[in-house]
Amino acid sequence: MARRGGKILVDALLEQGVEHLFGLPGGAVIALFDELYEAPIKTILTRHEQGAGHMADGYARATGKVGVCVATSGPGATNLVTAISTAYMDSIPLVAITGQVKTHLIGNDAFQEADMTGISRPITKHNYLVKDARELGRIVREAFYIASTGRPGPVLIDLPADVTAQSVEGEIDTAMQLPGYRPSAGGHPGQIRKAAEAINASARPVLYVGGGVITSGASEQLRELARKGNIPVTTTLMGLGVFPETDPLSLHMLGMHGTVYANYAVTHCDLLIAVGARFDDRITGKIEQFAPSAKIIHVDVDPTSIGKNVRVDIPVVGDAGAILTELLPLVQQHQRGEWLEKIAQWKRDFPLSYRRGGDEVKPQAVIEELYRATEGEAIVVTDVGQHQMWAAQYYQYTEPRTFLSSGGLGTMGFGLPAGIGAQFGRPDKQVVVVTSDGSLQMNIQEMATAVLHRLPIKIALLNNGYLGMVRQWQELFFDRRYSHTYLANGNPDFVKLAEAYGAVGILVEEPEEVAGALERAMALKEVPVLMDFHTAPEENVFPMVPAGEAIDQMLSGMA
């Protein structure tokens, strides 16, 4: 029986268990969308390809499955670039399928042609240009395998229109041919033993945990390790939720906008156990003064991450879950009373705080109210900027895959579409998008997608009328010269905008209205709700480590 390329692709996607696909058609993928017309895959039509990319990404972050997005050639494909890059920086498994002009026209400056394998090379884990439909089954299998194993990442499949239309007779060989791809599995037993010895000998250890532990599904093992050894845990932005922030051992987030006590603990520890984290510059600050008196253990699935930014004493390459499982029985129970007491003292002396009261809506208070209104059970999806940091600081995350944010690339416009993708993947959970007037407008068109599918997502818009994080830097480091960061005079009426899309809009201008608005929003089902919180325009995110400073040199903003 003959099958066309498009059908082979759809069959291969079904074989991979794909249930949702986010995309937008165009000339080069009409034949593919024709195959999707009756396929048992839920295809979600977005209003912009970037939205499709972030939705697939949010879906992947919320579920752990591979997200799939489709765009047409040329502009459709280039519109995916930011989304692919976002997924790449945060190691999110994504398969992006882009249409391409017919093979004989490639390189011809044909209509809607862009060299996607060339453009996507530095922002994908791997990519393919399919030249023959007989290769398609194998390529799709390889793409899903590469995207989801080792250190996950996006894989792009560029599919010329004539390959989609190509008719293939009979069976095709879909066996993977990846002789050079061997993702790391378990860690080296000798290194694990060394790590255990270092942990047992340590008086002041800290676990520094990143998104890799979420990817690995190793949250349980991490919790056991921390509790067995009484080791305090700080997480990166990407690691939020992997260890319950309500636990006394939690130090919350570290780094530029981390807690004082997390940064002090890292600065004073004698052993730093990094698991699934990559010593990003937003974490380390001035690298020479990062964890200056500590031995460093680095557990990571990607050997190129180890020793990239800091010297590592005990590298352990492999899957976090497998390594922590091996490590657990070797680690002794330990009280570490003195160290924990010191940390408790820092927590008492330097809690996260902001100036309460006043007649302005404080953004931090909105997040605290949101935590209460959702009982800490929501999937919080953020955009990028001040609101992202407040959402990280003032909501307490207790489970992995409940805080979704563009950490590495810092993509404004990520929040709404990623929230939509997360809601498709987890219909059982309340999804809340925490965003800002700057970020939301970068992908506002996806309101239509959310309304169309009657998604009960809640959008908490912290509307301060500025590109707030840039304004904060201008205030602190550029003598309050607010060059091109003021948005309020051009902002739309977001409540009316929500209503224009068919969503519900709620305006909040007074502090005492916050709780009520959230309660009303949470009660509304089967419709997106946008809460437009007009917040204090010049509120800053603190603590803050100025760029290039050591992480114990924080501005508190409370002086």
């Binding site: 884990k125 791997h126 590469i146 990846l178 002789p179 050079g180 791809y181 990607d302 050997p303 190129t304």
Partner: protein, 101 residues
């Protein structure tokens, strides 16, 4: 560097030759200006460097030369006053020597 190379999906194996015995070559085809009055000098250089003349024109010669990268660089430095008109080069290629036992 080694780890970065190994990370590329299409790379099957990465071997680091530093610290091992290996043979290294760089191959170049060079078209150099060599009018009759200068031809003798150029041919002498070619002979010293164990190159080969592979094409002869009225005013120029094409030379094939291979060797370690620094030898080629030295040869090119000496040729350049005559005028190198065209060149194609492989860059460094290498294989380890057989184990000696």
């Amino acid at each position: 560097m080694r780890k970065q190379l190994a990370k590329v999906i299409d790379v099957v194996k990465v071997q680091d030759f530093s610290g091992t015995a290996y043979v290294e070559r760089d191959l170049a085809l060079i078209r150099v200006r060599a009018p009759v009055e200068k031809r003798g000098e150029v041919l002498e250089l070619v002979a010293i460097f164990r190159g080969r003349v592979v094409d002869v024109g009225k005013t120029d010669l094409m030379i094939e030369i291979s060797g370690a990268e620094d030898k080629l660089e030295a040869f090119l430095r000496l040729l350049s006053p005559y005028g190198v008109r065209e060149m194609a080069r492989t860059g460094r290629i290498a294989l380890t020597r057989a184990a000696r036992d």
